[in-house]
Amino acid sequence: MAELRKTALFPAHEKYKGKVVDYAGWALPVQFEGIVAEHEAVRNAAGLFDVSHMGEVEIKGAQAGEYVQNLVTNDVSVLNDNQILYTFMCYPHGGIVDDLLVYKFTNNHYFLVINAGNVEKDYKWMKDNVGTYDIEMRNLSDDVSELALQGPKAQEILQGLTDTDLSEIGFFYCKRDVNIAGANCLISRTGYTGEDGFEIYLDHKDAEAVWDKIMEAGQEKGIKAAGLGARDTLRFEATLPLYGNELGEDITPLEAGFGMFVKLNKANFIGKEALQKQKEEGLKRKIVGFEMEENGIPRHGYDVLSNGTMIGFVTTGYFSPTLKINIGLAMVDIAYAELGTPLEIQIRKKALKAKVVSKKFYSKNYKK
């Protein structure tokens, strides 16, 4: 096996006794104290995550906006300076290359945040689609550390370390050149947990010091170092998708239930024709929420049945740390997607009863 890549925060993982695993080729902590304790800290106080494995690509130039508008499914033209949107990049057939955040700094300067496991594939895709657009592109993935401070006390904790008035940064807005504990940072009010919070981009050389300062500042407010395990249970409860689970090359954003991030009324973008057609013809399958009615924990990849016939697969499932019930998301044939539809989940040797429920397992607590 190839040597795992280490983030600049690797020493901090050791200091905080993280249990390090291989994630997309990176050595990252799956947990520190425990997934449930970290999950609850983020819901009730705050958690600090190392998400330096995420990829970043900068797009600059006179046609930067037009280029990004063609690349992604959501409408970049409505963004103000320093505003962010969530979107997909699709293939011409409508399947998803990746999901990403688009930061618009100015009309000719954008910053795209992509998934760690997809960096190479995405960057190649972006380069292959430059065509005649007058832009410059740089893959900054190896040069940037990223922290995510998430939870209802995130702002209060971070405010103690900066003179910038954080209350002026709205949901899905960012600010550049913010001084956090002496380090120059890009910060945004974004996250992957369903709670208020910030994502902080900074130089590798400053990452560990800022991590320590935030942990120190948050100590009395109940902050915990949090790992990838809690990141996954948190995003799942908030119905935020994960590439490789709810999203993939053979899944369209419409099937995944994220049509609101696909603007079919904008001028051309890659995948538009296929997605338009899929919308007109109607979906043949889609992702639904379900709750177990018999005792068993559904997991990613398990088969979904109806009266013994296979009708889909579980994309993510957990014993929900917040709700204390066994729930999941599953891609099912459209005939089984109505709320209340009985399903069975094949858990090892048994097909256990479940039913379709709303995917809104947990109401997000975003700052408006």
Binding site: V30, I35, G229, G296, I297, P321
Partner: protein, 127 residues
């Protein structure tokens, strides 16, 4: 890591407590610690029969499901129903939380298992 004198131990981190041709079986402190917070335990049906090395149950943490292997052959006489409602008991008291009681079909298989000291050395190497 806690171990208990008088119990036998397997490579898969199960403990075995033998009493008159029967054996109580659970997972060790090392195993519960490696799994993390246990949120679900799946146990076999009473009267089912297993060979040594068969999967007899599943212990699940928030993150993952992990098989439990029967270290010796036998027939299930009883399962610990208390674990269905309170799986976290395995974290709190792994050696007090037996999963199954079996009737041993071949007591000579017990000779393959480790005693406390051997198991401590075994775990030392796994670290």
């Amino acid at each position: 890591m806690k171990t208990i004198a008088g119990l036998l131990y397997s490579n898969d981190h199960e403990w075995i407590k033998v009493e008159d041709g029967k054996a109580y079986i659970g997972i060790t402190d090392y195993a519960q610690h490696a799994l993390g917070e246990i949120v679900y335990v799946e146990l076999p049906d009473v009267d089912s029969e297993f060979k040594a090395g068969d999967v007899f149950g599943v212990t699940e943490s928030v993150k993952a499901a992990s098989d439990s292997y029967l270290p010796v052959s036998g027939k299930v006489l009883e399962v610990n129903e208390e674990l269905s409602d309170s799986p976290q008991l395995i974290n709190e008291d792994p050696y007090g939380s037996w999963m199954v009681l079996i009737e041993l079909s071949d007591e000579t298989e017990l000779e393959q298992l480790m005693n406390e000291r051997q198991y401590q050395e075994f775990c030392g190497k796994e670290e």
